[in-house]
């Protein structure tokens, strides 16, 4: 046999040796997918959702590991201030954690790294969710997150100040109030205090979009875009919302320095009884303020004890009162260097463990509606909010406005974010600072909306 022949024989023999190994590798890959006891690690980034959430998560992980000892759950508690930026960097570097605590977002889906959960959702899991709850974790009908509670944005009042001014807060909790009813009430709540400071009818921060979003949602405008992606902040209702906001500054019921007030300052003013009502407030403030009152009794904190009442956001005359609501929970991701199907399955198992019946303690602590039937059952009779606030929160949940972002296509969702950050926020700040009139702001919304969304 010549040299070429020998070489060909060797190559043939080598390929015969390699091919079965490839075949074997395939079989072993299949076996690996079926074999669910291979050690794996699932990374979770979360936030201090409530004061005791770290204890909750440790307990949930411990329970999970009793049935899945081969899956290590590594969690990291991020700070609210810096966590979002840390996650954004990790996501855009292609290495997000497997689970991240947040509302679902079109931007996450756009990266191609958000894990679609539909194929992992069993019938039992789907049936356990209360009507409408699962949709809070969907983007365009596809499941990307499992909510563990439905948040609620409301306003919050100091009961003593409201009652001294003759405001029937119980009736307001039940029936709501219009823009003009609120302005009248706020004038009664605003006065000079003996120490020379001012007690304002309403205090809000001027650094976020929450306030203008709550007001416009109560004027019949769910967001700058409707669920079909059509720009709707171009009519009379937008102008009336802006006039309502500016009117409160002109009346003096909101501080003229609102544009520069941070959320912490707003809370400080509420605790110092310099604010009768604050925006935004969440039902959890009821628990936080009760704890603060206990600290005052124990001498740990100085200040006046406050009786907190949750209040609805006023609505435009002729419109229905709406409570801004949405879902927050865990969103699942894969990485640029995909760890495979089994890892994705394990990630979902951890996600379900962190979102199940026991995880309902988050909704319970936050005094928010549960999202699952098993949670409602597990925490029946264990509510922490005062009865009037609990009743009010349940009533508010009957008429909610959820952000449209999850139902929009990814491109529209990104443009909406840009509109909010680069058109709404600067104009809102200019309105609060008295640098622009409501008419000018409404005109700018109209023009920029047309430019960006084409209608």
């Amino acid at each position: 046999m010549n040299k070429t022949g020998k070489l060909l024989s060797v190559m043939l023999a080598a390929s015969l040796a390699v091919l079965p190994a490839c075949g074997n590798k395939d079989e072993s890959g299949t076996k690996a997918a079926e074999n669910d006891t291979k050690p794996d690690t699932v990374k979770v980034w979360t936030y201090p959702v409530h004061q005791k959430y770290e204890d909750d998560i440790k307990e949930l992980i411990a329970d999970f590991n009793k049935t899945h000892p081969h899956i290590t759950v590594q969690y990291e508690m991020l700070s609210w201030a810096e966590g979002p930026k840390k996650f954004d960097v990790a996501l855009n570097a292609g290495d997000p954690p497997d689970l991240y605590f947040h509302a679902v977002s079109g931007q996450y889906v756009n990266t191609g790294l958000a894990l679609q959960l539909d194929k992992y959702m069993t019938k039992e899991i789907k049936d356990d969710y209360l009507p409408g709850a699962l949709e809070l974790g969907q983007i365009q009908g596809k499941q990307y997150g499992l909510p563990i509670y439905q948040y609620q944005w409301t306003w919050g009042g100091n009961k003593r100040i409201l009652e001294e001014a003759g405001i029937d807060w119980k009736k307001i909790q039940e029936k709501g109030w219009t823009f003009s009813e609120f302005r009248e009430a706020a004038k009664k709540l605003t006065k000079k205090l003996p120490d020379g400071t001012t007690q304002y009818g309403l205090v809000t921060d001027g650094t976020s979009l929450d306030f203008i979003q709550m007001v416009t949602r109560n004027a019949g405008l769910v967001d700058p875009l409707d669920k079909d992606g059509k720009f709707i902040w171009n009519d009379e209702k937008t102008l009336k919302s802006l006039q309502f906001i500016q009117g409160m500054i002109k009346d003096g019921v909101m501080p003229k320095e609102t544009a520069a007030l941070a959320p912490a300052k707003r809370t400080e003013m509420f605790y110092a009884s310099q604010a009768a009502i604050i925006s935004k407030a969440i039902p959890y403030y009821d628990v936080l303020i009760q704890n603060r009152n206990k600290d005052i009794d124990a001498g740990k904190v100085k200040g006046e004890k406050i009786d907190f009442v949750v209040l609805p956001v006023p609505h435009l005359e002729g419109q229905t009162a709406k409570t801004t609501s949405g879902g927050e929970g865990y969103v699942a991701f894969k990485q640029k260097n995909d760890k495979g199907e089994q890892h994705a399955k394990n990630t979902f198992l951890v996600m379900e463990a962190l979102s199940g019946a026991k995880a309902g303690n988050s909704a319970n602590e936050l005094c928010l509606p549960f999202v699952r039937k098993s949670q409602t059952k597990a925490f029946e009779g264990k509510g922490l909010a005062k009865p009037e606030n609990k009743k009010a929160a349940e009533l508010f949940q009957k008429s909610i406005a959820t952000p449209v972002d999850p139902v929009l296509d990814v491109e529209k969702s990104a443009k909406l974010k840009q509109f909010n950050e680069q058109v709404v926020k600067p104009n809102f700040q200019a309105l609060l600072a008295g640098e622009k009139t409501p008419e000018q702001v409404a005109e700018d919304f109209k023009n920029k909306g047309k430019q960006m969304f084409g209608n």
Binding site: Q107, K336, A430
Partner: protein, 304 residues
Amino acid sequence: MPAITAKPKQPRSFGQFWRDYGSAYLFILAPVMLFLTFTLYPVVSAFFMSFQKYNVLQSKWIGFANYKHMFSDEIFWKSIKNTVLFTIGTVPVNIIITFVLAFLIFQMKSSWQTFFKASLYLPSVASGVTISLVWLAIFDPTSAGLMNKFLDLFGLEPIIWLGQSNKALFSLMLMTYLGSHGSGIILYLAAMGGIPKSLYEAADIDHASGWTKFTRITWPLLKPTTLYLLVTGVITSFQVFISVYLMTQGGPNFATTTIAYLIYETAFVFYDFGLASAQSFVLAGMIIIISIIQFKFFSTDIEY
């Protein structure tokens, strides 16, 4: 007599080269690797990214679209305007303040010089984040804020420092006037110490006034230090970010949106890394051009 011929150069072996220079190259290997990994590679990547619509899994080549979008964006031009205003409002003023402080300190006894050098240098040691958070409290818009309490002493109304478009940028400039002179003072003092006393003695013989000595001796001979502070001051002010991020987030109504903050917002709020890269290169180009102009016009040497 045999002609003297040059000895032919023996080719050096690698072994010999390594013995002579190997340790030097080893010493510079680490910083060169750091430079290549953390400076050159990111700059080259960012350059290519500026021509792409970035996506973490699959970016798309879009040519000059990012640059076209940037130059037609009014917010970009607003950020350039704010950055230039901030630079003009801080760099010359801070150089003057730094020089005056250094000049005053230079006249003192050495023990007092040491004390003032240390005290004025301390703010440079504190982190920008800490300083920004403290100034946020100082600029509290209510009457409880320190600046407003100071105004109240003179019967003036409180000012919403960071909440009004016509005051927010000035508030950020004010921060720099009151705290960023330490390193400049050290440099000026060292330069002043290097001016030969014989020049002043010669001026005294000619009955030169203090002003003449200052304008004809002190200031010209401090030109290299002034040029250095001018160039580094412009580079630093063009990259102002921490105070904007922590105190105003670019507002109110884009009044404090600087180019560096816009780059951050484009990348980390809107996830548009391609556009942010394009903006970064424009910023870098502007800084290079301004630095060249400064060196061309201000770098002539003075010799006596």
